[in-house]
């Protein structure tokens, strides 16, 4: 570990103090009755275009993204850039589906995707499948935010043994838990504004200053070993890295807005128009993500891996230490403090939204549906607040006592699972054609086959699908959601053929999906 950088640490702590204050003060922002679930858990659906832009940006571009995407570029090269086409195609998908979902959820006071599925298909078991998938996929995601936090705290030179080593992460999470409990979604929404400004400042400074110091992009790319610079050209009888790259981008884009924390961000918007506008404005973040991915290459060109002062950091955090090491090397101390605070706060915002989203799901779709149907608004909000604490405590214990690699594996599996809710949620926004039990069967087939394929592929995201002597390596999530959809279509046709007069339960009307 480098010695403690006191200037950087002071700036870091000051910024953390500011967002802590902001998190508690947010309770009074656009004031509402925080004893109601839609006030606590959706900010009263009061956020306009700009706040939603910050909130969804703060939600999707997490601390782990800032650490892991450059780390992948640093370690594996060009393939890390799949994050760019991924975000390019995520927004058209968002544009086509989520304004409709916002409209229907607003009309019927739905707070979660599972609420929508329950109303649309009238099947509590299908809604339960969507709920459990959402909660299970979110948990490891929260845990990974803690990993991002640990890496920057390590980068500041703070180290210790045993309990002392974990203390900074525990304190940060205690603060996070407290302001999320008291302010609900208003806390991450207000902090996201500070976080995004810091992140933008960091990304642009890094992209201008570091290439100048390293002698320009020519020199940087010249320093990258040839096998890392481009995707390897596929050999005979396989689509190789090409299909892996494209399916990772497409599958990740389809899964992105199915995560509960994305849907919570979307539903907090004050109008469907604010959601539609964001589809055109959110690519602003994609550009930043592309620039961040390049930072993995800057780290290679700067030779951070060979420097003795970073040896301990790389030993502890692996390639995830590439960005903190690069910043420590290239920036003056005060700016290192800002950059690390940006990443650290970048962990708190999504962790808060994720825990709120998981709490909304539990409260609405498990507690009220299966345990106590007569919850008052106040009891509902209180249950959600407590669940948000439990969820965060679970993530913290996970990161303290289980190897980080397990959280990464679970997050990978979470992506494969969450995409299985696509037919019910995204296609459900357009059509009630599917039979609800057929959707549930498709979901089950997708989850089981996806898990089996991921295990067979040794927990790598891509699976080498073999067809007629050809090999198509591709993202397991995409392959299995296609299978899921096939099962749902075939079974729906069968059900309709056997029982053509079967009525459908649907509490939504076609007009509910458009602005009136």
């Amino acid at each position: 570990m480098p010695a403690i950088d006191w200037v950087a640490l002071t700036v870091f702590l000051l910024l953390f103090a500011v967002v802590t204050w902001l998190g508690f003060a947010a309770a009074k922002w656009r004031k509402g009755d925080l004893d109601q679930l839609h006030e606590w858990g959706l900010g009263g659906r009061r956020f306009g275009t700009i706040v939603v832009w910050f909130l969804i940006g703060g939600d999707l571009y997490t601390a782990y993204t800032f650490i892991a995407v450059p780390a992948l570029a640093f370690g594996a090269g060009a393939v890390a850039f799949f994050a760019v086409p991924y975000t390019i195609i995520a927004y058209p998908i968002f544009f086509l589906v989520f304004p409709r979902i916002w409209q229907v959820c607003h009309k019927h006071n739905y707070i979660t995707a599972a609420d929508f599925v329950r109303g649309r298909f009238g099947n509590r078991w299908l809604a339960l499948a969507v709920t459990i998938t959402g909660i299970v996929a979110t948990m490891p995601y929260i845990a990974l935010q803690l990993v991002g936090l640990e890496v920057v705290i390590g980068g500041l030179g703070i180290s210790g043994t045993g309990f002392m080593a974990e203390l900074p992460v525990i304190i940060s999470f205690a603060i996070l838990a407290a302001f999320t409990y008291s302010s609900g979604l208003r806390a991450p929404a207000s902090i996201a504004i500070v976080k995004d400004i810091l992140i933008y400042a960091t990304a642009f400074a890094a992209v201008i200053v570091i290439p100048m110091e390293l002698g320009g992009f020519d020199k940087i790319f010249a320093a990258i070993p040839a096998p890392k610079l481009l995707l390897p050209v596929p050999g005979p009888n396989t689509t190789g890295a090409y299909s892996a790259y494209a399916t990772l981008a497409l599958g990740s884009a389809l899964a992105l807005f199915l995560y509960p924390h994305s849907i919570t961000g979307i539903l907090s918007a004050s109008s469907g128009r604010a959601v539609r506008r964001n589809a055109a404005l959110l690519p602003g973040y994609s550009l930043m993500l592309g620039l961040l991915a390049l930072m993995g290459f800057f780290a290679i060109a700067a030779g951070v891996a060979g420097r003795p002062e970073f040896a301990a950091g790389f030993k502890q955090f692996g390639n995830n230490f590439a960005v903190p090491a690069l910043f420590s090397l290239m920036f003056p101390s005060w700016f290192v403090g800002i950059a690390f605070a940006a990443i650290g706060i970048g962990a708190l915002v999504p962790a808060a939204i994720m825990s709120i989203a998981a709490a909304n799901l539990y409260t609405r779709n498990i507690h009220r549906e299966f345990i106590n149907a007569n919850l008052t608004g106040q009891q509902e909000a209180r249950t959600a607040k407590w669940v948000s604490l439990i969820v965060k405590l679970g993530a913290l214990l996970f990161i303290l006592f289980v190897p980080t690699q397990y959280a990464i594996y679970l997050q990978l599996l979470g992506g494969i699972w969450i995409i299985q809710t696509l037919p019910a949620v995204m296609l459900g926004a357009y059509t009630r054609w599917f039979d609800d039990w057929a959707l549930l069967a498709g979901w089950a087939v997708g989850v089981v086959s996806g898990t089996a394929m991921a295990v067979a592929a040794k927990l790598m995201p891509t699976y080498p699908l073999q067809l007629a002597g050809f090999s198509f390596p591709g993202y397991t999530a995409l392959y299995t959601v296609i299978l899921n959809l096939g099962v749902a279509v075939v079974l729906t046709l069968l059900v309709k053929a056997m029982n053509p007069r079967r009525g459908v339960a649907d509490e939504t009307a076609p007009a509910d999906y458009f602005p009136s």
Partner: protein
């Protein structure tokens, strides 16, 4: 076609314009090469970053064309 009809069907042909960016970035043989460089960046990188901007422009066009 007036706005009300489109609203009730919930579909607009403008949406097809969004497909362009899928084709442009999901077929790696289009861009998996180093030349031509631009500002010292290999084609692979600047092509995809350029599509971030083009994709945003296309989405904005569709937004304005379908906004009532």
């Amino acid at each position: 076609m007036n706005g009300r009809q489109r609203k009730q069907r919930g579909w607009s042909w403008w949406y097809l314009l969004l497909l362009v960016q899928f084709v442009a970035v999901l077929w790696p043989p289009f861009y998996n090469r180093a030349d031509p460089h631009w500002l010292g960046m290999p084609f692979f990188y600047w092509y995809q970053l350029l599509w971030v901007i083009l994709g945003a422009v296309l989405t904005a066009i569709v937004y304005f064309a379908t906004d009532d």
